[in-house]
């Protein structure tokens, strides 16, 4: 053990000298930190790699868990600390739809209160309809409960940072720290090698942990280093986001989504006068949209929502026919198609685009490693489920780890990690497959498929229990 420490100190010395020219500004600070740790690497109980929405929420949830009061948790974030002294008047263009299940998780460690105090918008109804036919599906809760909340990502991050600071004695956050290398423990053996995961940071320092949680996004370094297979493909689509001003102030508690042949366009309420746009379309069209003039852009959005250019008579008559049948069988309320509010202008500099793809890790866990969030699964935003799946992962993993900690178990043991994997793979695989299927189904205007999906959508809209099941699944 002494020999190891000695050689490690030697190694750190060498690394320090070699990285000196690169890290001049932070040299003294880094040196102090390293010498303090060189006598023995700190053994953390949990290290969360990646401080995004999901990573920070994971560290927060563990930090606030009562069975983790005795444990040492570390959060590694490659970016700088984002401090939000005052909420800016302009809304950010990156927003997330938070399901009630996710809201419950966030309130379990006190972040939801911060979010409500800043800003968030609840929506009560969701209308999803086709551009090639009259078919539509309207989701709403009979009891007028909130279906979900639209919150800016920055607001969520700020709330999480506040709650992390509240448990700073248990959760240590290292900003501007990126893990560059991981060393996995050897499988059970009697050698002198450490049984913990060794992480090497960008500045050369090393630390050890009993459980490494990878929350580092869809290009996860943890997943790659662990050699976990990832099924992935890119969609030939990019999502364009923007903040839009409505023509007139309205109650604005409906989320709108229309499936165009090029991809779905969605309008998410932010306030009585503002909505957020998420328009998934081909790469070329997306680039065009982002670069065109503001008036042209607003026209494009309005026509995308309002125009019936893609309707064909054949499909229209077929859908009308089914509508009569449905009315006969179920003469109760028939939801007529409503039109979303018209857009007046777009916030300057709020247009941005990002590419879309699908990804799913073959395994979510390995001994001493677990993947959560986009590191485990990446989904199309059409169902608004991306971050909610990540929050669902957190709920499940925290539940398993909390029970394990209360039973005195070794946190990196596969017995409870496998439980988390089974729980979440079941849920996520279904959702991923459904989202991908929907995306492919709605990417065409070939008549047979249009007819199929028109009737399918109308039928689903008519069957309330089915709609309720879908809503329940999506709000977990």
């Amino acid at each position: 053990m002494a020999a190891r420490t000695g050689s490690m100190t030697g190694l750190l010395c060498v690394r320090w000298w070699s990285s000196a020219p690169l890290a001049v500004g932070r040299l003294s600070l880094a040196a102090c930190r390293r010498w303090a740790g060189s006598s023995a690497d700190t053994v953390y109980d949990v290290v969360v790699s990646g401080g995004g929405l999901v990573g920070a929420a994971m560290a927060c949830a563990l930090g606030h868990d009562i069975h983790f009061r005795d444990k040492k948790i570390l959060l590694l974030e490659a970016g700088p600390k984002k401090v939000l002294e005052k909420l800016s008047d302009t809304y950010s263009n990156r927003v997330s739809s938070i399901s009630p299940g996710s809201a419950t998780l966030l309130s379990s460690f006190g972040a939801w209160d911060h979010i409500c105090n800043m800003r968030c918008k609840a929506f009560r109804r969701m209308q999803v309809w086709d551009s090639c036919s009259e078919a539509l599906i309207m989701f709403d809760r009979d009891n007028l409960d909130d279906m979900g909340y639209i919150v800016e990502n920055d607001v969520i991050m700020c709330a999480l940072t506040k709650q992390l600071e509240a448990v700073a004695d248990r959760v240590r956050v290292l900003y501007r720290s990126k893990a560059v290398d991981y060393a996995w423990p050897a499988p059970f053996s009697m050698t002198d090698s450490s049984p913990w995961v060794q992480i090497t940071l960008g500045d050369g320092s090393t630390l050890q942990t009993k459980l490494l949680i990878g929350a580092d996004g869809h290009n996860s370094g943890v997943r790659r280093a662990a050699g976990i297979q990832n099924v992935s493909w890119t969609y030939d689509q990019s999502a364009v986001v923007a903040t839009l001003h409505l023509s007139e102030a309205t109650e604005n508690n409906v989320a709108w989504q229309r499936f165009l042949p090029s991809g779905p366009i969605a309008l998410l309420p932010l306030s009585d006068t503002l909505s957020s746009l998420v328009w998934s379309t081909s790469h070329d069209h997306a680039a065009e949209l982002v670069s065109m003039g503001e008036e042209e852009f607003v026209d494009a959005i309005n026509s995308a929502f309002w125009s019936d250019a893609n309707h064909t008579d054949f499909v229209d008559s077929a859908s009308t026919m089914l509508r009569y049948v449905v009315t006969l069988l179920k003469p109760t309320r028939v939801s007529a198609r409503q039109l979303p509010p018209s857009i007046a202008k777009v916030d300057a500099k709020s247009r941005a685009l990002f590419p879309l793809g699908l990804g799913h890790a073959a395994e979510y866990v390995r001994p001493r490693v677990a993947l959560i969030g986009d590191a485990a699964h990446r989904v199309h935003p059409l169902a608004g489920q991306g971050v909610n799946m990540g929050f669902g992962d957190i709920s499940s993993l925290v539940h398993h780890l909390s029970t394990a900690a209360f039973n005195g178990k070794d946190l990196g043991s596969m017995s409870h990690l496998a439980g988390y994997e089974t729980d979440r793979q079941r849920h996520n695989t279904a959702l991923l497959a459904a989202t991908d299927l929907l995306k492919r189904l709605y990417s065409t205007n070939a008549t047979p498929l249009v007819l199929l999906r028109t009737w399918g959508l109308q039928a689903t809209n008519a069957v309330s229990p089915l709609k309720e099941q879908i809503m329940a699944f999506a709000s977990k």
Binding site: V43, R69, D70, P195, S415
Partner: protein, 332 residues
């Protein structure tokens, strides 16, 4: 009983020569012991016993069996997998029963401030979870190799390193130094391996604080436990290494209770445990005919055990002094 009856007569003929002073004590302990034919080997070299403590609960053949398996303790999918999996039952069992006795506890460290003795700790499979829950645990085992492995395994975790202490010894060897020290004594999967159960229980009583808890998990002595525990588990499925268990040494809950109660340990709970070899998980059960767990509490008042039992101290001098009290209590 008939077979061991013969044993007893033979042993009685050999023993009194070597143990003149301890005649009464040996006579009594042999009645308690369920020896097999192989036990004869141990008594062929009585000189050994003279130099160490004159009474022992450690069976040297058991020591040999566990020595061969020592390096496999921490392989969670290996031969000791059922024991790893049993932690899911026994740790909550110990934790919850101890939490009932203590008024306040720190969150995150439910057992902090408690001193626990893990007798027959093996590789430390149960010792480490108890340490993680905040207790100061002393783990003892007569097999030096086991302690070496346990020591090695905990050395990597700085928190456990501080909270856990391991010693190579048997229970009776530490009885004098640690009288009334421990809040809890854990003897998990141990009593079916000891020679002298009565002595063992008495030593447990002595090291416990008044009001302290004794936790035992063991295997019942029934036809079912022979069929499943020995034939199926050892010989057919290989779930347990061959020779680990001897059916004659299994202890029924009634027998255990009959030893605990007169020795000042009041039984609070007896619960059955069932192992599912296909899923690898244990479950609680109302049926105690296979494995079971027992929780007994040392009386807080000064109820003395019977005088004859007091003579069975592990100390040679005390034995000398008490040898004259020849009250032999023939219990079977």
């Amino acid at each position: 009983m008939g077979n061991s009856g013969h044993q007893l007569t033979r042993n009685l003929q050999i023993k009194p020569r070597e143990f003149n002073e301890h005649k009464t004590i040996c006579f009594r302990s042999y009645n308690m012991t369920f020896s097999c034919l192989t036990r004869m080997k141990a008594y062929r070299s009585p000189w050994q016993n003279l130099y160490s403590t004159s009474q022992t609960t450690v069976d040297s053949n058991e020591v040999k069996t566990f020595l061969a398996l020592a390096h496999k303790w921490w392989d969670e999918q290996g031969i000791f997998a059922p024991l790893h999996s049993m932690n899911d039952l026994r740790v909550p069992f110990i934790r919850d029963n101890l939490l009932k006795t203590s008024a306040s506890h720190q969150q995150g460290k439910p057992l902090s401030g408690m001193k626990i003795l893990d007798v027959g700790c093996g590789g430390g499979l149960l010792t480490e979870p108890l340490g993680r829950l905040g207790a100061s645990v002393t783990g003892i085992d007569p097999v030096a190799e086991n302690i070496k492995i346990a020591q090695h395994h905990k050395s990597f975790d700085p928190v456990l390193d501080e909270r856990i202490e391991y010693k190579v010894c048997s229970l009776e060897e530490i009885v004098n130094d640690t009288a009334e020290v421990f809040d809890a004594v854990v003897a998990s999967e141990v009593v079916e391996h000891v020679i002298d159960l009565e002595l063992f229980i008495q030593c447990c009583y002595q090291v416990l604080k008044p009001g302290g808890s004794l936790f035992i998990t063991t295997i019942n002595k029934t036809q079912l436990s022979y069929a499943l525990g020995i034939v199926f588990s050892e010989q057919i499925m290989g779930l347990v290494p061959k020779g680990t268990h001897t059916w004659e040494k299994f202890v029924s809950p009634e027998k255990l209770e009959s030893i605990l109660e007169p020795n000042g340990l009041l039984v609070h709970t007896v619960a059955g445990m069932i192992y599912n070899p296909f899923s690898g998980y244990w479950h609680w059960s109302d049926n105690t005919s296979l494995n079971y767990a027992a929780h007994a509490v040392k009386s807080s008042a000064q109820e003395r055990p019977e005088p004859a039992a007091a003579a069975l101290q592990g100390d040679a001098e005390t034995l000398h002094a008490n040898a004259s009290s020849s009250r032999v209590n023939m219990k079977s």
